[in-house]
């Protein structure tokens, strides 16, 4: 290859590398807000501090919930139509309608046929099995995850994090990243609860030992000591199984302070449908207690003194102001379609992140310096070539990471440091070859040609196999390991370019252009 051509390529790559590395340099200058700079290397949460959460949406619960609701609906309909049935039972993925002996109901006819949109039916004597269709179940699972994303996004917005990120991962996981998060507990408080609000009527005549298991259910009111975090009391309530209303009609929620005892409570206002429904429910149940149930725990069970027409309700409990505020936010953002479980949490404080950056940079600089000094001492001028190539290498890695807006983690920094140690290998292979060739021939020009030529294949083989290892690491998806795999891979590729092209170019311009060449400094 023509020297000018080669030099041109190197120059273009160098300019491009500097161009793409510059935003990163700019972004992390003191007094600059990194967020104002685009196309930079982003610092991972382990370096800038923040929270990484991997949560699982329990989608099967969403499927069960749909089946449960359908059971209630179907039962109501059968009662309305005065059909002689025994009960509608719910099993894992299906419903069973049990008719009285000799009675039949044709579900294919209106008004029942709407249930067959989602279910397949299979009659067996008095029993009819309604199996949720597989594609319906899939649809429910999918929409549960996308709904959860929406709800969580709303809740997280209230944390005031400047660049939060929520991403769906796999089929039913969501990865949440909250850079710069200060209050870890607050984030969990907001993300954690399913926030299903239900209104149910209390049966004051029944006790937990004597209640009708078919139509009633027991739920508890828990009282916690706020200072010791211990459960003080757990009061059972027998409730009508029928859920009269849920939180889906909430238009707004606000924290108010009760003027009598200065305790905070959450005031709800319903939309017009909700207001009508709430008026109807309260009118029918004047004189009875209505339990306000949040995530299956009774919050309060006030007596309904009169029909409530304005579409307003309030939830009181023993809230602190902060708890009431959290409740307000979760009720406003709506309930999650299914409970969630935290699979993985990685939270790093800002100061630890800074320490890690310092340690990473120190290792990088001292490690590189040691390698460069060794190379220059051992290979003299050729070592200087290698040193320049290595520096080029680091700029190249940073620019590639920046161009893709990649994230640099602490293991990622270790990957760069390691690459430097290993990147010299290509140079060492070439230089040792040239030295060997020098013993064989009196012609340094030939030695350079041969050295590069013979080392090339070995360099390729050796680097490709290291890439295999890096690729195998990439399957760890997210997290610190991926950062390492990414920088290692980029480093390996960049090092091949710098050793084979850049170092070679130096040999070309320094030695091969000389008309009389007797000695190499290597």
């Amino acid at each position: 290859m023509d020297i000018k051509f080669k030099g041109g390529i190197i120059l273009i790559v160098l300019i491009a590398a500097l161009y793409y590395a510059f935003p990163t340099y700019q972004a992390y200058q003191p007094g600059v807000d990194p967020q104002t700079v685009d196309n930079k290397v982003n610092l991972g949460l382990d370096l800038q501090g923040g929270m990484y959460l991997d949560i699982e949406i329990k989608v099967e619960e969403a499927v069960k919930e749909i089946i449960r609701r359908t059971a209630v609906e179907l039962e109501d309909l059968l009662i309305d139509e005065q059909v002689d049935f025994v009960e509608v039972r719910q099993t894992a993925g299906s419903l069973i309608v049990e008719m009285e002996a000799g009675k039949k109901v044709n579900l294919e006819l209106a008004p029942y046929d709407r249930f067959l949109v989602q279910f397949d039916q299979q009659p067996e004597g008095e029993l009819t099995y309604l199996q949720l269709k597989a594609d319906e179940a899939d649809r429910i699972r999918e929409s549960a995850v996308s709904q959860a994303l929406e709800v969580l996004r709303n809740r997280i917005d209230s944390l005031g994090i400047s660049e939060p990120s929520l991403q769906k991962q796999g089929s039913n996981n969501i990865v949440i990243q909250l850079p710069g998060l200060k209050d870890r507990d607050r984030a969990i408080e907001l993300i954690g609860p399913q926030a299903v609000l239900q209104f149910q009527i209390v049966n004051s005549n029944a006790t937990p030992n004597t209640y009708n298991r078919l139509t009633e259910v027991v739920k508890y009111q828990e009282v916690w000591d706020k200072t010791t975090n211990k459960l003080i009391s757990k009061t059972p309530f027998v409730l009508d199984k029928k859920i009269l209303m849920t939180g889906e009609f909430i238009r707004d929620a606000r924290v108010r302070i009760d003027s009598r005892d200065n305790s905070p409570y959450v005031a709800l206002s319903f939309d017009s449908i909700g207001a009508d429904l709430f008026a109807k429910i309260t009118r029918r149940n004047v004189g009875r207690n209505m339990a306000i149930v949040l995530d299956d725990k009774v919050q309060s069970a006030p007596v309904i003194r009169e029909a409530i027409a304005g579409g307003e309700a309030s939830i009181s409990g023993q809230f602190t102001v902060e708890e009431a505020d959290t409740l307000k936010i979760v009720l406003r953002s709506g309930s999650l379609p299914a409970p969630i479980e935290i699979r993985e949490e990685r939270t790093v404080g800002a100061s630890l992140g800074e320490d890690s950056v310092t340690q990473g940079l120190n290792s990088l600089m001292i490690g590189s310096a040691l390698v460069l000094i060794f190379m220059i001492i051992y290979y003299r001028l050729a070592g200087v070539f290698a040193a320049v190539a290595l520096t080029f290498n680091v700029i190249l890695i940073i620019s590639i990471l920046g161009a893709f807006g990649a994230t640099l983690t602490l293991p990622g920094m270790a990957g760069i440091v390691l690459t430097i140690g290993m990147a010299v290998d290509a140079n060492v292979l070439i230089f040792q070859r040239i030295r060997e060739e020098m013993k064989r021939t009196e012609n340094p020009r030939a030695a350079i040609q041969e050295g590069f030529g013979k080392a090339f294949r070995t360099i390729l083989d050796a680097n490709i196999t290291t890439l295999f290892a890096a690729l195998a690491l990439l399957q760890f998806g997210t997290g610190p390991i991926k950062g390492f795999a990414v920088t290692l891979s980029i480093g390996i590729i960049a090092s091949m370019f710098t050793a084979i092209v850049v170092t070679r170019f130096f040999f070309d311009i320094v030695y091969l252009r000389k008309t009389k060449l007797h000695k190499l400094s290597i």
Binding site: D46, D54, E56, D183, R184, D185, R186, I188, G192, N229, E341, I342, R343, E344, E345, R346, T347, G349, S351, L352, Q359, S363, I366, G367, S368, L370, V371, M375, I377, L410, P411, A414, V417, L418, I420, G421, M422, D425, V428, L429, Q432, R435, K439, R440, K454, T458, D461, A462, T465, L467, F468, A469, A470, A472, L473, Q475, F476, I481, F484, L488
Partner: protein, 310 residues
Amino acid sequence: MQFLNFKEGQFIDFLSFKRVAAVFSAILILGGVASIVAHQGLKYGIDFRGGTNVQIQFSTPPNLDQLRQFFSDNGMKNVVLQTFGAIEDQEILLGLPTDSPLGTGENLTSELRKILLPQHPKLEIRRIETIGPKVGDELKISAVQAILIALGLVLLYITIRFQWRQGVSAIVALVHDVLVVVGMFSILDKEFSLTVVAALLTVVGYSLNDTIVVFDRIRENQGKYRKKSFDETINLSITETLSRTLITSGTTLLVVLTLFLLGGEIIHDFAFALLVGVLIGTYSSIYVASPVAVFLTKLAPPAGTAPVTS
């Protein structure tokens, strides 16, 4: 500057050490295996076993026994406490089991502050890591998969570029390296975490570099010196590539040592695994991969060649 300057054709008889090397390797590996058996398995980090780790920094040197008593007085009996990093960092790592409701709960930091603040008003909770039991199992599977994928790709590549004999010998050397590093972690009672697996895979890639460089030279020399015996060719090839092997190992060790000493406690074990791995990888490409290649070639000579004698 030069060292190990050999005249052309001159070599060190590396293969004569193959029995000593075999015994050495056997001791290293069996020692590791014995330690793993004695410890009833590896000491997994939370990445694999699940649970919660909390890194806490104090303003005065923490007294672990006192803290342990403290936690147990506050109803937290199953916590594991250890100092983290250098003594002057005044940090501890608090471990909670997977089934601790506090770990993924919304009260973790407030509860810890409540327990510790009266005695340590200036503490800082620096890091919280929770891995659910399911994730732990998944990561275990991915870790094994990653190692198998890497080894599989290597076997395939070397078999294509060289011969199956070399492919198998390279794999033997790599498995050797992995076993030694894993064994070393067990012997030193260090936690085996995800970053250690990352280090292992890097070692696999690195150790292979050395092996390939030697194999490459063997192939080249086989073409060049047709009259030399196979053993001799191998010795010569190792000798010729020896200075490169040592220099690269040296520079890599330099940076790994820098990471080990300056990289901070979080990547300390990672750097340690690399340190052991780079040393053992260098050794294995000379004393494991090549002798195994000789052995395999004698066992199953390539078609069309006369049986090799040494």
